[in-house]
């Protein structure tokens, strides 16, 4: 059992938790992930490591609330436990002195990108970061990313924060303006990473993406996570999760990502019918906690 020691709702659709997982915390490196299983009926699903504390033995995860598994996770309060947490899995990011590094992130990719920025910065890279959100209200951890960046940019997909723009638009303009970039790392939803790869391709700037394929074991035993990179079949869990975005067969990836949509809908609607009160419970709990804190 892995205890949740902290929980906060970062923005309306993203929850951040800190979990006791001493082994994982001890071995974690930027770019890696864990596999969770919330309860006995639960599925195994991957989550990137957004942070860790080796001394306290805790790891942090920021997740997008989407379907049954993430909803079950969101319904847990501080003090509750997750049944299984295994990792760190996947290959760590190759941290080298590349020169000028552009980090594009959005959604649950923001946490892992901050860890990556720290490690790259330490190696002497110049960090240019760009964070995206659909709207200003969905931005989080800007300060943390700004602190480790030499250049920091924010783009949002509506007009709530200046110009309407996504990370791929930013990359295109930035490269077109003649700025020197040696490598790009993109972390976010598959669509965002695909668009970033497309934007950088004409400029020939290597773009590393962190793929979020459907996984079961996360250790190379099932092939659920397989994708086509170049002409080859790769397992995202053990060969990745990071790959050259210009080589990834995005159509194949997205097709395989959509494999279980009807089942996911069915599972979620059944779960929600019986468990919606749990979400209300957590909301009430958080409200009370806030009140207590305000009253000192």
């Amino acid at each position: 059992m892995y205890k949740i020691v902290e929980r906060e709702v970062l923005v309306p659709n993203i929850v951040h938790i800190k979990v006791e997982a001493p082994y994982v915390a001890q071995a974690a490196q930027p770019g890696q992930f864990v596999i969770l299983r919330v309860d006995e009926q639960g599925e195994r699903f991957p989550m990137s490591l957004a942070d860790w504390d080796r001394e306290k033995g805790t790891i942090n995860i920021a997740f997008f609330v989407l379907g049954t598994s993430t909803m079950k996770l969101a319904a847990l309060k501080e003090g509750d436990s997750i049944l299984d947490c295994v990792g760190p899995l996947g290959n760590p990011t190759e941290i080298e002195n590349y020169g000028n590094v552009l980090l594009a992130c959005g959604c649950f990719g923001i946490g892992p990108t901050i860890k990556l920025a720290e490690a790259l910065k330490e190696k002497g890279n110049k960090i240019i970061s760009v964070m995206e959100a659909r709207s200003k209200a969905y931005l989080f951890w800007q300060d943390r990313l700004r602190d480790v960046s030499d250049e920091f940019h924010v783009v949002v997909g509506d007009s709530s924060y200046g110009k309407k723009e996504w990370t791929n638009d930013f990359i295109q303009e930035y490269l077109r303006a003649g700025n020197k970039v040696d490598i790009i790392f993109a972390h976010g939803c598959p669509f965002m990473m695909m668009e970033c790869s497309k934007a950088s391709k004409p400029f020939g700037v290597k773009t590393i993406v962190s793929l979020t394929t459907i996984m079961v074991d996360g250790t190379g035993m099932c092939g659920s996570c397989r994708i086509t990179v170049g002409e080859e079949t790769k397992f995202a869990c053990v060969d990745g999760p990071e790959f050259d975005g210009h080589e990834v067969d995005w159509d194949n990836l997205i097709m395989r990502q959509r494999r279980y949509i009807p089942q996911e809908y069915r599972s979620f609607s059944l779960w929600e019918r019986d468990n919606w009160h749990k979400i209300m419970d957590v909301a009430l709990y958080e409200k009370e906690k806030l009140l207590m804190m305000q009253q000192g």
């Binding site: 079961v216 190379g220 099932c222 089942q263 599972s267």
Partner: protein, 482 residues
């Protein structure tokens, strides 16, 4: 006590048949297919045994089960005593009684096999261990004298479990590290419920835990901690990680959404209980016409699972002939009875489908004929030109075998643990030691995909090897911390 019958009558009796669920019914449920001997059946069968000295049957058993002793105790109606006889050499009797290929082991060497009527040793083993489980009979062990030395076992499959049990009984302190959330290895994620109820694996692993073995699940050796770091904490190490990495045909269309590896299909269904979706969250897709490539036990399990999940047609496609099929005869028979269609001498060359939706529409195949024997001694299948045809299918399951998973070998390389060209460990047949002193291996990661009982045999052999290593005053961690 049941009566001892004269030798002549023993020879005349026929083998007691195993009662089974009707194929029409069982094809739609996940309950166990053979339902097990009754007490009367077991005694009647046990009475047939000639009690040979020395017993030929035992020569065929990699776990050296005390066959004559446990069968005699059945005749004496001392089922608890019979169970303890088995446990002396094998801690997974209810599992082995169900999944061992007895026809090529103890039953093959049994003297009565000359008449085609070997003693049904596996069924008796199953009866005794089921009886013990149902009646809450546990092994009473003498006080174990602790040796104050620790052993790490990596992988909780049959090899790891048995090695841990033996070492713990010798007085060592054993910790098993397992990547999955449950122990059992292939027994829980591969072999389906209808052949081996998971309840039984859990029970027998639980009995091993009661011996004092510590279990660390959710621990991927080589990732959660490196092998060199783990080695620094233990006096010896046993690696039994199986050979679970799936192989694909490498033909066009294999990355369509409706193409599964047998490992994924079976893991979803067995370990994750997708056959009980949506009560369990893990989804599984099932086609109406399912095509499984390969003819091993794993392929039969996949094809039969597909039927139970609702497939209307379940095909097996295999490039060689029935004679070369690696599955147990009994499993092929079970599959056929349930309606699995076997297509021999057929090689798939392409999966057809829609690259937008990921759906599969069929599989293009070519007919084969058998040529000269190849290096495996089996006649080499050769494609017959111009015989291409399409099998209609909306789901394909690749079941052509597995490979070594490189996570542990890569991490262990730093200590000088060598692998052969197929990625399996190089080891000493006598002690199961790898090329690094103090690190031992066994099961599928040593031999390539093999059988449960060979894994059990390796686990036992390695336990003896480790005992010898440690008794001579050696220690893995000391050798590293120097």
């Amino acid at each position: 006590m049941a009566e001892m019958i004269p030798i002549k009558e023993r020879m005349q009796r026929d083998q007691v048949q195993m009662p089974e669920q009707d194929p029409q019914i069982r094809g739609h449920n996940f309950n166990e297919v053979p339902t097990g001997y009754t007490k009367e059946m077991a005694i009647y069968e046990a009475q047939r045994c000639l009690q040979c000295t020395p017993p030929k049957c035992v020569e065929g058993c990699p776990a050296e089960v005390r066959i004559t002793e446990f069968i005699q105790k059945i005749v004496e109606e001392d089922f608890a005593g019979s169970y303890f006889e088995i446990l002396k050499t094998n801690n997974l009797p209810a599992v082995c009684g169900r999944v061992c290929p007895q026809e090529t082991q103890c039953c093959e060497t049994c003297v009565l096999n000359k008449k085609g009527k070997p003693i049904a040793i596996g069924r008796l083993e199953r009866f005794v261990s089921d009886w013990a489980r149902e009646n809450g009979v546990h092994e009473k062990l003498p006080e174990i004298k602790k040796k104050g030395k620790t052993v790490a076992v990596i992988g909780a499959g049959p090899a790891g479990l048995v090695c841990a049990a033996d070492l713990q009984k010798m007085g060592y302190d054993v910790t098993i590290f397992e990547a999955f959330h449950a122990s059992g290895g292939v027994l829980v994620y591969g072999i389906p419920e209808f052949r081996l109820p998971k309840e039984i694996v859990r029970y027998e692993a639980g009995e091993i835990e009661k011996l004092g073995v510590k279990f660390e699940t959710d621990f991927v050796a080589g990732k959660t901690k490196s092998i060199p770091d783990m080695a620094k904490e233990f006096n010896a190490m046993f690696i039994a990680i199986g050979a679970g990495a799936p192989r694909f045909m490498e033909i066009p269309g294999e990355n369509l959404a409706m193409v599964y590896s047998a490992n994924e299909f079976l893991t979803r269904s067995n370990l994750m209980k997708a056959y009980r979706f949506p009560e369990y969250d893990t989804p599984i897709k099932i086609g109406r016409k399912v095509c499984t490539i390969g003819a091993g036990n794993v392929s039969m399990d996949s094809a039969r699972t597909a039927l139970r999940l609702g497939a209307e047609v379940s095909h097996i496609v295999y490039r060689r002939s029935r004679k070369e099929a690696p599955a147990r005869i009994e499993e092929i028979a079970h599959a056929e009875e349930e309606g699995v269609v076997l297509n021999f001498l057929t090689l798939p060359i392409k999966v057809l489908g829609d690259y937008e939706t990921g759906e599969v529409t069929g599989m293009e195949c070519i007919k084969m004929e058998l040529g000269e024997p190849d290096e495996s001694g089996r006649r080499r299948p050769i494609p017959v030109e111009g015989t291409n045809f399409i099998i209609e299918a909306d789901m394909v399951i690749d079941s052509i075998g597995t490979l070594a998973n490189p996570i542990v070998p890569r991490s262990a390389a730093a200590l000088g643990v060598e692998i052969n060209k197929w990625g399996y460990f190089v080891f000493d047949e006598e002690t199961m030691q790898t090329t690094r002193e103090g690190i031992f291996c066994g099961g599928d990661i040593a031999r390539g995909a093999a059988t449960v009982i060979l894994a059990v045999g390796d686990g036992k052999k390695a336990a003896r090897g480790i005992d010898k290593y440690l008794s001579s005053g050696n220690s893995l961690k000391e050798s590293l911390n120097k």
